[in-house]
Amino acid sequence: MNVPSVDFLPLGAEGAYATKSKPGSAGDFAHWLDQEFTEVNDKLNQADDLVRKLTLGEVDNVHHVMIALDQARISFQLLTQVRNKLLEGYQEILRMSV
């Protein structure tokens, strides 16, 4: 019976993995996340502003305020889910036995 030997990564192979994620593109996700944070923050501020305007009587349509609130909520929940998934993956890696 032929038992294959355990193959370690050939020397220099880690270099191949390292080049998969270029240093320049490593910031892509961070950049995207930063952008999303800014966007969600803008939405929350916008909804806040609309609520303030509604209480001051400067808004003529209540549904615009409610829709802005809903949009802010959905955007925030989307971001929360992304963060949850990210942390989940990170903790999964931490739990790996080396």
Partner: protein, 145 residues
């Protein structure tokens, strides 16, 4: 931001229905107005609304064309309604024969308009809520929350 297109469409529908409600309220409020502030006779108004996009029907089926879709108010026109002449000789606004020209507001028709406007608004809210529920449900994908 494609999931927001349903929000925008429903919002435009709600804005149209709100305008319709305003105009119906205006008509009902002026049932007994003999004239407007500038001296002309008050004529019942009607909201004219159109679909926002004049694109051919086939393009409605592609998601990209839904971005600017919705409904919009293009104008508030005077309805073609003859004034209601009531014989009130003692009225200061009466004409030479003692008739006062009240606007031809049809209260029953306005009430029906009111109800259909409310139902249309509610339908828009229902569509928006469905879109919201779908978006929130999608966020539950693959999660344990």
């Amino acid at each position: 931001m494609n999931y927001l297109s349903a929000f925008k469409i429903s919002a435009s529908g709600m804005t149209v229905e709100k305008a319709r409600l305003d105009v119906t309220a205006m008509n009902l409020a002026n049932v007994h107005s003999t004239r407007t502030a500038d001296g002309r006779a008050f004529v019942p108004m009607q909201v004219i609304s159109v679909a926002k996009q004049g694109a051919p029907f086939a393009s409605y089926l592609s998601a990209a064309s839904l971005h600017g879709a919705g409904a919009q108010v293009v104008g508030v026109r005077e309805r073609n309604a003859a004034p209601r002449m009531v014989y009130e000789p003692g009225h200061p606004e009466a004409d030479g024969k003692g008739f006062v020209a009240y606007p031809g507001v049809d209260p029953v028709g306005e009430m029906v308009n009111l109800i259909s406007t409310m139902r249309a608004y509610e339908a828009n809210v229902a569509a928006l809520n469905a879109a919201k529920t779908m978006a929130l449900k999608a966020l539950e994908l693959g999660g344990n929350t």
